[in-house]
């Protein structure tokens, strides 16, 4: 599975420019599902039909990663930008970025009196061009870039940019391949534009109109030095979300996930995230309401180039998804 994760996290795909990662995922799942389509916003929707005795389940993992969008190219060939999704200027300093066409750039900053004055509008990207004309041969205003970083395998843990949320895409792909006979009609949705407002999930949920929604996303941990207060840790198993800013997990869904984990001996932990949301936030408010929840992969250093996950937790998440879908569901 590490090879799958590596191919996913290292692929370019900031919110709004998910074409490359979508093609990769589509190639990976073809042959394993009954139907595949891409909708108006770019969501990849794959369906595995059940035997007719179950319900309609929508699973969502977002394909998009955070990035930057070029808003201005100055006379000397430096690029000014805004963020696509939540990008912290301090994390960006000293990073390299990569555009969809492969052009690489370095992030620089204006002279500052104090580092706490650092803001995105005081920074720029240097692609090594000497003039506006030279820069424009390679990059244009409106182009987006992602962090340029490869995955590193630390053994039981793996670190890369875009674990948020490519690790969940990998979990869904693994689950999708493993499921063999389910009573439910399962919609595996690889959503777009989650990082800019859960947008893909909103339109996909409307068109699918599911009975149950489960998002798979990363969540923070409280297991690093002087960390935020949060009782989620790497190695603690699949995190069953109770609440975040976008959703309070439906109590029945929380129970379904916890009971399924207990019954299957799957390690799990409960998760409360103070700031942050997932696709389930959009799904649960669709139409007349959809009981929803989120299975989270604990992840350190979210929205940095060094997002770190635990392979045991990943396995637990895959196991949990498969286990939930294998049995009848009473929601």
């Amino acid at each position: 599975m590490k090879a799958l994760i590596k191919s996913f996290v290292e692929t370019y795909g900031p919110a709004g420019s998910e074409e490359q990662i979508r093609s990769l995922i589509e190639a990976e799942i073809s042959g394993h599902v009954d139907e595949v389509r891409t909708d108006a916003l770019g969501n990849l929707i794959a369906v595995k039909k059940g035997d007719g005795s179950g319900i309609k389940v929508m699973l969502a993992a977002h394909m998009d990663e955070i990035g930057l969008i070029v808003t201005h190219i100055d006379d000397k060939g430096f690029l000014r930008f805004n963020s696509v999704g939540g990008v912290s200027p301090h994390v960006l300093l000293g990073q390299r970025v990569i555009f969809g066409n492969g052009v690489v750039g370095a992030v620089g900053a204006e002279k500052l009196d104090h580092i706490k004055d650092l803001r995105l509008d005081k920074m720029y990207i240097d692609i090594g061009a000497d003039s506006k004309g030279e820069a424009e041969e390679r990059v244009r205003v409106g182009h987006t870039c992602a962090i340029h970083r490869f995955m590193d395998d630390l053994g039981s843990r793996v670190v890369s940019k875009a674990m948020d949320d490519r690790i969940a895409c990998a979990v869904l792909v693994e689950a999708l391949k493993r499921i063999d006979g389910t009573p439910h009609d399962v919609y595996f949705v690889f959503t777009v534009q989650e990082e800019v407002g859960l947008r893909g999930a909103r339109t996909a949920a409307y068109s699918i109109d599911p009975d149950l929604g489960i998002a798979i996303d990363v969540t923070r941990t409280g297991d690093t030095p002087e960390s935020i207060t949060m009782d989620v840790r790497l190695g603690g198993g699949a995190a069953i979300k109770v609440k975040d800013s976008s959703m309070i997990t439906h109590p029945k869904v929380k129970r379904l996930l916890a009971d399924t984990a207990e019954a299957g001996g799957i390690p799990y932990q409960f998760e409360v995230l103070e700031h942050g949301g997932t696709d389930a936030g959009a799904i649960h408010l669709s139409r007349q309401g959809v009981p929803s929840g989120t299975i989270s992969i604990p992840c350190r250093y979210i929205h940095t180039p060094t997002e770190m996950i635990d392979m045991g937790d990943v396995k637990a998440c895959v196991d949990l998804v498969v286990a939930v879908l294998s049995e009848p569901i009473d929601i």
């Binding site: 409280g222 207060t229 949060m230 009782d231 989620v232 109770v242 609440k243 309070i248 997990t249 439906h250 109590p251 929380k254 932990q269 409960f270 998760e271 409360v272 103070e274 649960h284 408010l285 139409r287 007349q288 309401g289 959809v290 009981p291």
Partner: protein
């Protein structure tokens, strides 16, 4: 059961956003009894339907009050059994130190939000408001014992019974918006004595405090012709400009602004005039901060209005209001509904 008893029974229960079940049961019983028909939707909204006498397709009036309250949620159990928590909805952390709570674990446990004694505080410390991260709950158990009963994600509610103040005034937690739910009760009771052609959907919504979520989905399911939110608004008190408040005990406040359809408001004003109910005006240039903000833009749109009960000390455990205002609002709404007939669809048009 009268309004006071109903309200007391509601505020005694814990019904924090997302976990309104126990309050919903009480509400469904009483509203269902008065309306004749009651159901719960997928997110737990209680929808009571009192059918009108008009011919199908009848005009649908939806009146909504939220039954959820703000509260807290366990984020961590620390060594020595102290509980760390986060907020559910807009809780002012300055109201928490020294507050008694109930931690809803396997069993309900009484807890105290502890504070350092003044003897051990420096003068500087005492000048600064406490931060949420510094607060903790003491349930009187050690870590091992606590972990047997409590888990991350468990809800924590404030301990406060209804306080009977002078005359019609009462105080307590969650009057925002269980008082509004009581208005629904009064409305249904009055409507049982009036003829009405329109269908009334009296909805006790969930999760208003975390984003008007119950209103979004319940309105989608009902698809009403008119939607009115019953909530609380700020009552006058020292230190707050009069233009931001309404007077206590002087009747419900009707919002005025983009979130309110002028014709719906006009009819509410007319109904108040006929009943001799004093009403006040709440100028709302944008969002009203009520379920009506969500209701107005569901599907192809809903003509909405807001009726509010003046209340002091919102989002504290000593919210204070007058049951006379609650009763007046209920009567007003019943009369409004009774005056709605098929012609209103034309009347609501802008062109």
């Amino acid at each position: 059961m009268d309004n006071r008893e109903f309200l007391r029974s509601l505020v005694q229960e814990a019904g924090i956003s997302g976990y309104e079940d126990r309050v919903a049961d009480i509400v469904a019983d009483e509203l269902g009894r008065l309306a004749g028909d009651v159901r719960r939707d997928k997110l737990g909204n209680v929808i009571a339907l009192k059918r009108g006498s008009g011919p199908e397709p009848r005009v649908k009036v939806m009146v909504a009050a939220h039954m959820d309250e703000i509260g807290l949620m366990v984020t961590k159990i620390e060594d020595r059994g102290f509980i760390r928590f986060t907020t559910v909805g807009g809780v002012d952390q300055r109201t928490l130190p020294g507050q008694e709570v109930v931690v809803h674990g396997e069993q309900p446990l009484v807890g105290i939000i502890g504070v350092k004694p003044p003897h051990l505080l420096s003068p500087e410390e005492r000048q600064k408001a406490m931060k949420m991260e510094e607060l903790f709950i003491d349930v009187g158990l050690n870590e091992e014992e606590a972990r047997k009963v409590i888990r991350v994600g468990d809800l924590i509610s404030l301990r406060r019974d209804l306080v009977e103040l002078d005359g019609s005034f009462v105080a307590g937690k969650a009057l925002d918006d269980r008082a509004g739910v009581t208005v629904l009760r009064q409305c249904l009771e009055d409507l049982n004595r009036l003829d009405h052609r329109a269908d009334l959907y009296a909805v006790a919504t969930v999760q208003e405090e975390v984003g008007l979520r119950g209103a979004i989905v319940s309105t989608y399911g009902i698809s009403p012709d008119i939607g009115i939110a019953i909530d609380v608004c700020h009552g006058d008190m020292p230190g707050v400009s009069p233009e931001d408040t309404s007077e206590m005990g002087k009747g419900p406040a009707l919002a005025l602004g983009g979130n309110v359809h002028p014709k719906v408001r006009e009819r509410l004003v007319a109904a108040a005039g006929e009943l001799n109910i004093n009403i006040q005006t709440e100028v709302a240039p944008g969002a009203t901060g009520t379920d009506a903000w969500a209701m107005q833009v569901v599907r192809a749109g809903v003509p909405t209005a807001v009726v509010s009960i003046p209340q002091r000390y919102m989002h504290t455990s000593v919210e204070t209001l007058s049951l006379a205002d609650v009763k007046a609002a209920g009567r007003l709404l019943a009369y409004f509904v009774a005056l709605v007939d098929e012609g209103i669809r034309e009347e609501l048009k802008w062109l």
